[in-house]
Symmetry: C2
Subunit: 151 residues, 2 copies
DNA sequence: CAAGATTGACCAATCAATCTTT
DNA sequence: AAAGATTGATTGGTCAATCTTG
């Protein structure tokens, strides 16, 4: 029989409801400001960091924990919205490269203040500096590299 | 300008990736065992705790942070799978009551060991007892009752 | 009118199969 | 065959509108 302590369950429910609340807060603020959802921000940010060389979709996949088919359609939508540009890779005939457009850069800049404000009120203002440091340190240990299900 | 410290961002990314990894681990283990997804467990558990009086859908809604239309279709699927039973409320002509079936109780009992094992390896085994206590305590502060967007 | 719940139409995520290139 | 990526079909989630009862 597994010996799950009451504390472990409390930590799990706290983790899931805490992150869920914060996520809902952020998504709600973005929606209220008529901005795209958080997932788009992550893509824009990763692509912006890779500028000007661009990024391969499979690199996005590993960094953002998305499936390949999910990436494919997400990038299609973002390209249709004019936020990124998809070009065939010169080195690898199978692949593509994702570039940021000026509109994409602008969109990320407009999303960031809303995003940051939500983090401020939902996270930063609710915890002490020590608690924030602890939270960062502890949660870092949960994303171990060798999760059995991520082979 | 918002003064988001580097630590707050680290706490946020840790929170979201940590809970995401753990969630994927649990869902993956459940799927590998041909069991329903975690959301069904939560419903089964809430309904089981309310036995034998049953539970109203809108009570589930507040406890599990789901929307009304989402609840409606989720309960339809679970009733179709034979895990719960939906009956009209005798007190309130508008509403229904959710009851657990024997199959539902059995299903929750089969899901729990898989769920618990995943929490053990993904959470309990990765942190010290002190860290688990801290995590539970800190995350509890994030689910404040008066989130502006949950009015 | 407000509260509990459902439905139709639409969008996004998922699975399996497929295609091209390495 | 394996890696990168896409597509068709299905399922699940979301929005707005609706229905019934309090």
């Amino acid at each position: 029989m597994t010996s799950l302590t009451r504390n472990t369950l409390a930590a799990w429910t706290g983790l899931i409801t805490g992150s869920g609340h914060l996520l809902s807060l952020i998504e709600g603020q973005l929606k209220d400001a008529d901005l795209p959802q958080l997932g788009w921000y992550d893509v824009l940010w990763e692509v912006e960091k890779s500028s000007p060389s661009g990024l391969r979709p499979f690199e996005l996949q590993s960094r953002l924990l998305l499936t390949q088919y999910n990436i494919s359609r997400l990038l299609d939508r973002m390209a249709a919205a004019g936020l990124i540009r998809l070009a065939p890779s010169p080195d690898d005939g199978r692949g593509k490269i994702v570039f940021l457009t000026a509109e994409g850069r602008d969109m990320r800049c407009r999303m960031w203040p809303v995003y940051a404000q939500a983090l401020q009120t939902g996270l930063h203002d609710r915890l002490s500096a020590d608690e924030i440091t602890s939270l960062a340190q502890i949660t870092r240990k949960l994303r171990a590299e060798d999760h059995p299900h991520f082979e």
